[in-house]
Assembly symmetry: none
Homo-oligomer: 270 residues x 2
């Protein structure tokens, strides 16, 4: 995996946060948690995050609130952990699992290898503590409608879940989970992706920001009456929310292009 | 670097070309040409290329023509080669260097390692042939205004160049080159990036498509009188061209969002 070589990024670099997150991603890959394809996927997300202004926008906040209510109402919520989540936000994912009364963490990899599943499960167990169940290697079930290695799952995991949180998921799995009549909460920076369009609740945000905020909302809503949680969950309209998130990206792209025109009168440094 | 494992991609896959380019990138990384951070940067480019429709748009074609004229008028043009260029388009870069009377190839890495600089220089030498000078390991100068390892350069390279081609460059280097009063031709898929806004001529296109087209234009313009080349170079308005490229992405994003809405009436698989 090579040495853990980290370059110092100057704090005043205009893309400091994004570059720090990128380093975390590269470090997760070096430690054998994420696949090289995960690095490419992360880069694609970066571009959409840039269009979002690298902030949790009101549409994401709204989706997070609905997701928190849905997870609190769930009988058997399962939180899916893939390589990129294990690299980028394992602590936030562990904290979220701890904040829910009966959540299970399930390792689920696009490019599955048992060694990697074991490494990720071990990391999540260490972070989540004894009270949280972590399903990782040796899957004992198959999710219908997915091709062989990706179908592997757990009877006491996704197979019996009523609500599944899939941060950074592929469209195929999201569709398979929906066909199996599960509620799916997705975190996806691309509001046009199949996952974003298929999920029950799509949080268009970076997992780095979305997962801690989701835990905060779970804690804030924990003592509210179920009737209020139900209202929050059912009133949420995913398609309308996605359209607004996309509209925000469009508006920002337009505003950026105009601001840039105003800031750079005929070649600032010509 | 692991084994050269390549997945077969079916030719009718909707993202065939993009996935093939991605494989080339992963293969370049496995061979120690590109850095893992390069995979991330490539993923980011993929998202913008998707917004561009993965084609050389008229704005890019216009910038390429101005760039060809500028390179032909240059006294000492330097073509910068980083890890991603060495992975994705080393042959096109070598062909471009051969098409110009006195171009020098200079290896320039964001995450510099002498071993990688040597590997890339060797690859470029093999592809470009004896007539083209390749500057790679053992830099003998520093570009002012850049932090330590990234400042390393060559007296007979960027330091004495009048025109520098930087495909896939970071904003800091582009700004440093502009401050040193060099003309900078950039290839960047993000029309809002610092590189795109700081360069003298920005080609908003994938290097895979832009570099061969640039060589074709160099060959097409080679026998034109200098007065005509000057006209082509000076009439080009980078800011206006960038605004148009951005407008094209905006229009496509809007069209995509409308098409999606038409295709997915209220949650296809709810």
């Amino acid at each position: 995996m090579g040495s853990e070589k980290m370059h110092r990024i100057p704090k005043d670099h205009p893309r400091y946060t994004s570059l720090r997150i990128r380093q975390r991603m590269v470090s997760g890959w070096r430690r054998g948690l994420a696949a090289p394809e995960g690095l490419l996927a992360h880069g694609r997300g970066e571009a959409f995050d840039y269009l979002l202004g690298e902030r949790t926008q009101p549409e994401a906040a709204k989706a997070i609130r609905a997701a928190a209510a849905t997870l609190l109402l769930a009988r058997h919520p399962v939180l899916s952990v893939n390589g990129n989540v294990a690299a980028l936000a394992p602590d936030s994912m562990a904290a979220l699992a701890r904040s829910l009364p009966s959540a299970v963490l399930e390792v689920n990899l696009f490019h599955r290898s048992e060694a990697r599943a074991r490494r990720i499960a071990a990391r999540m167990k260490r972070l989540a503590g004894r009270r949280v169940r972590v399903l990782g290697p040796s899957p004992d079930a198959r999710l219908p409608g997915l091709s062989s290695p990706r179908a592997r799952s757990f009877k006491e995991g996704m197979l019996s879940a009523d609500v599944v949180l899939v941060p950074l998921e592929d469209g195929d799995r999201t569709e398979a989970l929906r066909r199996a009549r599960k509620k799916v909460v997705a975190v996806d920076l691309n509001p046009l992706s199949r996952t974003a369009r298929t999920a029950s609740i799509t949080i268009v945000d970076n997992v780095i920001r979305a997962l801690p905020e989701l835990t905060r909302q779970v804690c804030a809503l924990r003592r509210r009456p179920p009737s209020e949680l139900k209202r929050l969950a059912t009133r949420f309209d995913n398609r309308a929310n996605l359209a607004r998130a996309l509209g925000r990206m469009l508006a920002r792209l337009r505003a950026l292009s105009e601001r840039r025109r105003a800031l750079d009168p005929a070649g600032r440094r010509a």
